[in-house]
Symmetry: C2
Subunit: 209 residues, 2 copies
DNA sequence: TAGATTGTTAATCGATTAACAATC
DNA sequence: TAGATTGTTAATCGATTAACAATC
């Protein structure tokens, strides 16, 4: 079997499958594509094709082995080897992400934040450290951090982005509503709440006619 | 011209265009599709086709009138008539969304939050009110709220969803990583951080081979 | 007129769905 | 064997890209 690049739409569904399979009642040791499709409101064939990419081998009449499927999904999504990341911008959103407990569930370990507001940079016991932005480059390089999360206002996002790139970051998760210019070697994943809300609005509007 | 339903991918790009056009330097009174495409890293034809949907009429050799384009985008995205919304779950994420100042920029007005944690439900001066979940139905109905935002843990999301539906909510913006079951009349828009991060990871991995 | 730009039609690509053979 | 389920091949749909005519 040739290692195919997995389609983007498939990648988006894999974490959803994993979440669902993990939440299954304990006694279930196997699960069928049809059951997953029903539970998640998807087409059966989509699920089977997606799971085929994961190379989880299903047994006719039984389905997929739960433990095996979980493992295969976690492996493919890279949930085993933790990605160390830093957040730039420790305002409300940045802080919420910094202290969110659920990220280790999907292989993301946010080790620190950076902010220029001195009021934020004192270390509180039990919480993760917040450093001044001036130390970003030094610390990222020293710790070998490869993922940066941007939660600063739009006006500062490009400058922060440039600093992250200079610090050797390879992937940027961008919550600021601007298009970031980066070298070809760096990947930007935009998370734009306005976009997401616009999709909801548009579907609501369409429904109302 | 027949009123076509706008494609989903187009809807996702419209807020990005709007954001970009708004941020243009003051002296610019017109903008070409080519310039937008270059700035946002998109194909020119995509931009022209998208803008055609918005029915902004561009002039050859000049481009689109900035003011007209802004207005048309805002109108189509429904940024003029505010959507009143409530948040259920006033933890870190819910609270960050509740107090986020940028939502009115895209027609979303979060008027209150609900949470069962009594420690959160005291009104602080200058901040938006947080009520106990028991009052959700009463208040939503009285205020005619049509959009609900779910930021509770996964285990409680379906129950909260059911209460929102019972209160007459038509659209749900769901930040909990579960598939919600709703009647056909209700629209759910999922915002799943695990999904977004998985896409980043997968693109990073691909890059590294 | 020449050149830049829009808007549209046709071709390509990727993702979804339908049909069906293979297997336990 | 019969039935349920997987996995794959072909058909359809939607979105992107390429080519080009229309217009100021």
């Amino acid at each position: 079997m040739i290692m195919q690049a997995i389609g983007k739409q498939t990648v988006k569904r894999l974490p959803v499958y994993l979440e669902y399979v993990k939440a299954l009642p304990d006694q279930k040791t196997s699960i069928s594509a049809a059951a997953i499709a029903r539970a998640l409101g998807l087409n059966e064939v989509v699920v089977r094709k997606d799971l085929a990419c994961v190379s989880a081998n299903g047994k006719p009449k039984i389905g997929y082995d739960r433990a095996e499927l979980t493992k295969a999904l976690e492996h493919l999504l890279g949930y085993n080897d933790l990605s160390h990341a830093v957040i730039v911008g420790a305002g409300r959103l940045g802080h919420a992400l910094l202290e969110y407990q659920g990220f280790d569930r999907f292989g993301l370990d946010i080790i620190a934040a950076f902010d220029n507001d001195d009021a934020l940079t004192d270390k509180k016991p039990g919480s993760k450290p917040i450093f001044p932005v001036s130390r970003l480059q030094e610390l990222c390089q020293r710790l070998g951090v490869k993922v940066g999360i941007i939660t600063v206002p739009a006006t500062q996002a490009q400058s922060v982005c440039d600093q992250l790139v200079a610090a050797g970051i390879l992937g940027i998760w961008n919550f600021a509503p601007v298009h970031l210019k980066v070298p070809e070697t760096v990947i930007v994943q935009d998370e734009n709440l306005a976009v997401s809300f616009a999709v909801l609005q548009s579907r609501l509007k369409q429904r109302l006619l």
